[in-house]
Each structure stands twice: as C-alpha cells, then as structure tokens.
Amino acid sequence: MDFEVLVQLKAEVLDPEARAIKDTLIAHGTTSIQSITIAKRYVVSIENNDPHPEEKIKKIADKYLANPVSQTYSIKRLGE
C-alpha cells in the first residue's frame, strides 16, 4: 500500500530556495512565472497485511517526516 506524504513549509514561512530559484529564472529571462513553491514528497510503501496502515503513516509523518514548528503535511493514499 503506497502513501504519499507531502511536506511543505507553512504558509508565510520564508523559503529562500524557492525565492532564489524564481529570482534566477527571471534574471535569466524566463517570463510569466508567478510563483514557485517547493515541497518534499515521500512515497512510503507499507505492507498490505499491516492492520492499521493509515495510523502508521500518520505517525511516521508526524514524528519523522515533518517538523511541526515550520512545516505542514498532507497524506494521500496512492491508487492501487
């Protein structure tokens, strides 16, 4: 069973990398870019016979993948 965990900076937290990429693209002449945001996408595959996969992935995301001080995350089960 595959889960996608998307981890992203909270809204309004400065993302200097996204800013630098955007600025550089524009400086190099790429037009009509409005914004760039960056997230990390984890795909965690859990054995099918696990009794509580949803709980497990939530715990993993909470404890290991996202930093609650600065980040938010979302979980999606990927199509079979």
Binding site: E12, L14, A20
Partner: protein
C-alpha cells in the same frame, strides 16, 4: 538623477486608534501579553502624554524587553573594566574593537540564540550565526572566524539528540555558506540544560581603525535606507495581537519562525563591506532583535536625532502587514543605512550588483522623535530617548544561595573510593573521557579552512590560531590571532565569583598556551530567572568575578550579551557566563598546538605555581561523573601572582623552542588533560603512560596551570626555565613510540596507575560523541 529627496507624507487620512486605557481588563491582558508591568505602563503614559497606539505599545515592549534594554543587568555590567590602551570601541556598539597592530584592529562579539534554538534548533542556531556576523560586518569588519559555545541537556534526555543534530547542522550550514571558518568553541551536556539549551555564537573580524562605522543616524535630512530581504511576519516579538477590540487594526496575524538565508547574508555582507569601503553611508545597523524598531530607535538615540519613516516603502513578503508587524518583525538578513541624499545613486549601484532589494524608507529629522506613517496613518509618534537611554533600569533583589550543610562528605567519600578502588577510578576516568568526548562529529560539519587563514582549528584542540595573511604590508607578515571561548559552568555554580574568574583565566591560559598574548574579552552571560534573587546574586557575583579577572589580566570587556530567564518552571540553569577571548600572535609560525600529532617519544610535564591551591574535586568533571552536584564543596580563589608566574614560564618556554605542545590543564585534572594532549598520537599507535598516582592530581582541578609536551632530553633545561619564573615543572606522563611487541596494534595503549586501558573501545566511545539524532 544624482540625488533623491524622500517624499514626505503630507496628508494623513485618519488618526490612529489609541489603546483604551479605561477598559482595565483589556488593558491588563494587553500589558501581560507585552510583558509590560503597570509601573512601566505609567512611564509609557508620561512619555507619550496620551494613551499609546498598539504599534507604540509593541515598540515599548520590544525596546524595554530584557533582551534590548538590559534592564536587569545594566547596573551590574557597569562594573566591567572596559577601557584600555588597545580598546578602540567598547561595549554599547554592535561589536567591540581592539587594536592589534598599528591601524589593524579586531572586531568581535558573542551573542546568544538560546530560546529560538530550543524551539527550532536548525533555524534557531543558523539565524544566531547570521545575527552575530551582521553585528561584526555592519561595523565594516570582514569576519575571519566564527566560534560557538553550546550547552545541551543530558545525553540521555529525549530532546538532546534532535537538538544537537539541528543546532550543529544549523551553525554549519550557515557559516559554511557565508564562507566564514568555524574554528573553535565549546560544548557540554548536563541535565541543568534539559529545558534550556544554550547556543552562543561569536564572530571575529578584521577592520582598519579609520574605517570603523557605527550606528548613528546623523545629518538632518539624510535618508534612511532599508537593505536586504523583504519583511515577513517572522518572529514578531511579544504576543500576537488577538485582542478583540484591536482586531481591525492589528491584523491579528500569527507570527512565523525566522528562517535564515545564508546566501542572502553573503550578498548582504559583500554589499555592506563594499558600501562602507566606498564611504557611502553615515550610519549603519543591522536589523537584529526587534528588527526595524531597535535599529531605527538606537541609531536615532545615539545621534540624538529624530527619524521619520513611511512603512509603505518597506519591502514586505506577506500581504497586508500592519505597522505593528513591520516594526516588530525579525526577518533575517536586513540592514538599515543612513546616507546623504547625494550618495543614493552610487549606493543603488552597489546594492543592485549584489541583487539586494532596497528602498528609501525615511529620513533623519531634528524632532528627537520617531514618527512612523503607514497607509496614511501616523502609527507611531514617540520621543526617542525614553525608549533608548531612558529605558527602565532595575536593581533586582539578590540573595546568597544557602549552601548544603555538610559540604565535603560526598567528595571525601569520592576521594577515598578513588584512592582505594582502582577499578572504580579507571571506570570514572573512562566515563570522563567519554563525557568530554571528541568533538569530531561536530567540527567536521564546520568548514574550518575557508579563507585560507586557519593555522590551528578545533582539530588541534585548545585555542584557534588565525594567520592574518592580508596583502597589506604595514603589519608583520606572520601576524595572527589566537581565539578561544568557553566556561566551566559547574565551577561557576559552585562559586559564581571564582568560577567566572576562572572562565576568563582559562581562556587566557588557552591563548597563552598557543603562544598568544590575550588582548580583550567578550562575553555572553546565560543565567536563569532574573526575578529569582539567588539567580541575580549569581549574576552579580559572576560579573565581579569576570571584572576581577579582566583587571588582573589586562583584558578589558569590549562587547557582550546577556541572556536571562533560561529557566524551566522554578528551575534555572547553572550560571553560565560564557567568555570569548582574542589574543595576538606575533608570529603564527611559532604557534604551539594543544595536541601531539606524531608518534615521537615525549614527556608531558605539569606547570604548577608553587603556592597554588590544592587540587580540588569539588565541581570537577570527576564529581559530575560520580553524580555529585556542584553545589557541594568549595573551590579556592585564584592567586593571581602565582597565576602570572605560570604565564611567564610558558612564554619563556615558548621562546626557548622546547614546547612541542602546550595546553591549559583545565577540567578533568591531569588525567584528562594528558589524554587530550596525547589522544591523536595514541591513534597513530603511540602509547601514553600517566605517571601521576595522586588521585587529587589525577582527577582534581585547580592546582595545575598548564601541561606541556617536551622532548625528554630537554627536561632539565625546561625545568630550569620554569624555575626562573618560580614555578615547578614536573613530568606527569610519557608518550612513547610503540615497541616491537605492540607493532601490530591499531592504536597505542594508555597506562595509568589504576591499570591499563583498552584504547580500541575507549576511542570508539570517545568519538561516538554526539547523541544520534536527525534534524
């Protein structure tokens, strides 16, 4: 266009809403959130002559905060010796500056970022490094070295691994990217820091005497220029403004964590140094704590002028930011400059080259007031002085901590056990070694070589040595700096007065051991709750201890920082007055390392002043590892006459060229100091034999000043030299090349009077220093 006049606000749309002082409940909630006492609010009212606006209240809250105003510490800090023939800029400026040789000066300062690092270790530590770098380069000094002093909770505490991993990575990623080598510091673990880690960062920079810039908003009509990253709702000071009746004006925003951008910092640094070199600004200050508020008020305050700012011109990152938010944002990598209008075009050229956003946001006025418009509303209209020079000063209550009843009994027991049970002694020794730990896992994450000036860094232990190596030929070609920082908090806890003196003395010893001459001191005074009378007494005594040592050593305090309220519930941290010291090296080729790196046969000798106090186990590393609290037992005051004799001896020994290595004896007694000195050669296969069999000397701290490594054939001559300074030099250990029998061992052996130690295991635990954690 060669100059620009700032477009003043002519038409104000509305009057700003004032705080309703009649609503007592609401007012007291508001004051509480802003950490303003009712007495302080009365002072605010008399300064403003009316009820303040919300933004004004925020400004008072920030400027009168402990962090900005030093209100609890100020009366004590006055006791520091701050003057001296080498002092060019003393405390009160962004960084202290002392003369090194001729016009060449050193600017340096240490600052705390404890609280943010505990909340978010990576960003907290990174932005701490960013802040201290800006303090130094905004004076026009080019940073050449970073150091950091870290204190974490017990290794076994569940938070410690994550904190260590995050803080170390944060410091490394920031300093490495900006390109300033991180060459030294200190770190230790103790349960006293379980709820309050300490992250103190220090930067040392080079500057020419006639090119020092200060934070003065001088010249009526001069422009106030904002430079650097846009302002977001980052780390807004104090509480968020959710007060019902103010919702409309306050925007009720959530504050977000401050994120460091070392790339932006590097650009800001290059631009700032270029702008200052070209003389394009009159005054400059970084926007550190309390951001635009403290930088603008302090610059105006120092110059005795007023400043007008229109916040509509401030580059912002978030939409609809209120005056309150813009004024109190602590977004990183920003600078405030005051320039003559005629310099605008040239300034803009430099800032554009370095891709920095910038804007004229105001001008210097003769009103003595800070007047700030936003969206057609005069949000702030305050006299400058009450917020700066006339900020409240408190003489907090002090009380001497009652000491434990039978001070010496646990120590006596420890001493007896160590003398009678060699298995126990050996175990305790190993425990101490592992507790101190190799700093390898930390320092490998720091670029220690960028800049090409590093002669000795943390890899060699002891003080760092930096080779000035400039193309400027007015100074000696091998001129350098010796730099060190730290403090033994257990000893300060034991006796704040003596322990703090020792912290200064130990820094001086490290510099002297490296071959340097101590010049001046910076400090970062980390203490607990200022409203706890015992904590304030610790603070006051520590100040006196530092003052005494600085007086004795001729090393004035030229900059520093105070961090109070490092407490969790009723428990305050051990008093931790971190000391940073800079010394001069006339010839870095003659620098003496603190460790032996070769397998050659050597003698390790102690340098002990004749009437030095007894070695004491009180508050020692041995006591810590035997779980004896530092409150018990006493340490003896420093005999400065004798101390100076040992310094003299080291200088003479250095001149003689006999010193292969030298280090301050410091914590952990001769046992640990000898281990530190020899560990790298043990790794190469040499063996270390510690001859000392006296438990007090082996484990105790206090009596021995230095350890030196010399060739055996020089013993007699070296002893003669030491005796001329009236100190004794005794062999305490030997390092010897491996013999035939041991030739196939990977590491050498360590022998002590308690028995031999299997180095394979010991070195593995010594190096597995960092609690494993992820960031």
């Amino acid at each position: 266009m060669s100059s620009i006049a700032f477009p003043k606000m002519t038409q104000r749309v509305t009057k700003p809403p004032l705080i309703n002082v009649a609503d007592k409940d609401q007012l007291s909630a508001l004051l509480k959130r802003h950490k303003i006492s009712t007495d302080e609010f009365d002072k605010i009212l008399s300064a403003t002559g009316r009820a303040p606006t919300l933004a004004e209240l925020g400004v008072f809250s920030a400027m009168w905060s402990e962090h900005c105003s030093y209100k609890s510490s100020r009366i004590h800090l006055r006791r520091f010796p701050t003057k001296g023939p080498k002092v060019v800029v003393g405390p009160g400026e962004n960084a202290g500056v002392v003369e090194l040789e001729g016009d060449l000066c050193v600017a340096f300062k240490m600052e705390s970022h404890n609280h943010p690092s505990f909340i978010e270790p990576y960003q907290g530590a990174a932005t701490g490094v960013g802040g201290i770098l800006r303090d130094v380069f905004c004076m026009g000094a080019r940073p050449v070295a970073n150091l950091n002093c870290l204190r974490f909770g017990a290794r076994s505490h569940h938070k410690t691994p994550t904190l260590v991993a995050g803080v170390v990575k944060g410091i490394g990623d920031y300093g490495n990217c900006v390109g300033i080598p991180t060459v030294g510091g200190s770190v230790s673990f103790d349960e006293t820091y379980n709820g309050n880690c300490l992250v103190n960062a220090m930067t040392v920079g080079l500057i020419h005497k006639n090119k020092i810039f200060k934070g003065y908003a001088t010249g009526i009509g001069n422009l106030v220029v904002y430079v650097g990253s846009a302002t977001g709702r980052d780390g807004i000071h104090g509480a968020t403004m959710a007060s019902d009746s103010f919702e409309d004006t306050a925007g009720a925003s959530k504050t977000t964590i401050q994120v460091g951008d070392p790339f932006a910092e590097k650009l800001l640094m290059e631009a700032t140094l270029e702008v200052l070199e070209k003389g394009l600004v009159v005054g400059i200050q970084d926007m550190g704590a309390a951001g635009l508020t403290s930088s603008s008020f302090e610059m105006a305050g120092r110059a005795g002028n007023g400043v007008y700012i229109n916040l509509d011109h401030v580059p912002t990152r978030s939409a609809n930011m209120t005056a309150y938010e813009i004024m109190l944002s602590e977004s990183q990598e920003r600078m405030l400059m005051v320039i003559e209008p005629g310099k605008w075009t040239e300034l803009q050229g430099v800032l554009k080259k370095w891709q920095l956003s910038h804007a004229v946001i105001g001008e210097v006025t003769d009103t003595g007031r800070m007047q700030i418009d936003a969206k057609g509303v005069l949000e702030i209209d305050l006299p400058v002085a009450p917020l700066t020079d006339e900020a409240p000063v408190y003489e907090r209550r002090m009380a001497l901590r009652r000491s434990a009843c039978d001070e010496s009994s646990p120590l006596k027991k420890l001493r007896e056990r160590l003398s009678s049970d060699s298995g126990y002694a050996l175990d305790l020794y190993k425990k101490m070694i592992v507790d101190v730990g190799s700093k390898k896992q930390i320092i490998q994450q720091f670029d220690r070589h960028v800049g090409g000036k590093t002669v000795f860094d943390s890899e060699r232990g002891g003080a760092a040595v930096i080779w000035i190596r400039s193309r400027d030929t007015t100074h000696k070609p091998f001129l350098g700096l010796a730099i060190t920082a730290g403090c033994n908090e257990r000893r300060v806890k034991n006796s704040p007065l003596i322990g703090a003196s020792e912290a200064v003395r130990d820094c001086a010893r490290a510099i002297i051991a490296a071959g340097g001459l101590p010049i001046a001191v910076t400090d970062c005074l980390n203490f607990g709750n200022a409203e706890d009378a015992e904590v304030m007494r610790e603070f006051s005594d520590s100040v006196d201890g530092i003052a005494e040592a600085c007086q004795q050593l001729g090393t004035p305090v030229v900059s520093g920082n105070v961090s109070l309220y490092n407490a969790t519930g009723a428990t305050s941290i051990f008093p931790t007055p971190m000391i940073g010291m800079v010394g001069k090296m006339d010839d870095v080729r003659k620098a003496v390392p603190a460790t032996v790196e070769s397998g050659q046969d050597l003698l390790i000798c102690t340098i002990t002043a004749r009437s030095a106090g007894n070695s004491s186990l009180a508050a020692s590393l041995a006591a810590k590892n035997a779980n004896i609290s530092p409150i018990e037992g006493a340490i003896t005051a420093i005999d400065w006459m004798e101390e100076k004799k040992s310094h003299e001896a080291i200088y003479s020994l250095q001149k003689s060229g006999y010193l292969v290595a030298a280090r301050a004896a410091g914590e952990g007694g001769i046992g640990l100091a000898a281990f530190k000195m020899a560990v790298n050669s043990v790794r190469l296969g040499a063996s270390l034999e510690i001859l000392t069999s006296d438990v007090s000397e082996f484990f105790g701290e206090g009596a021995t000043a230095f350890l030196v490594a010399i060739k055996p054939e020089n013993l007699r001559a070296a002893r003669n030299i030491a005796e001329q300074s009236q100190v004794s030099l005794k062999s305490a250990a030997t390092i010897s090349r491996l013999g035939q029998l041991e030739a196939n061992r990977r590491f050498g052996v360590i022998k002590t009077c308690f028995g031999p130690i299997s180095t394979e295991d010991l070195l593995a635990s010594f190096e597995a220093f960092m609690p494993v954690g992820t960031t």
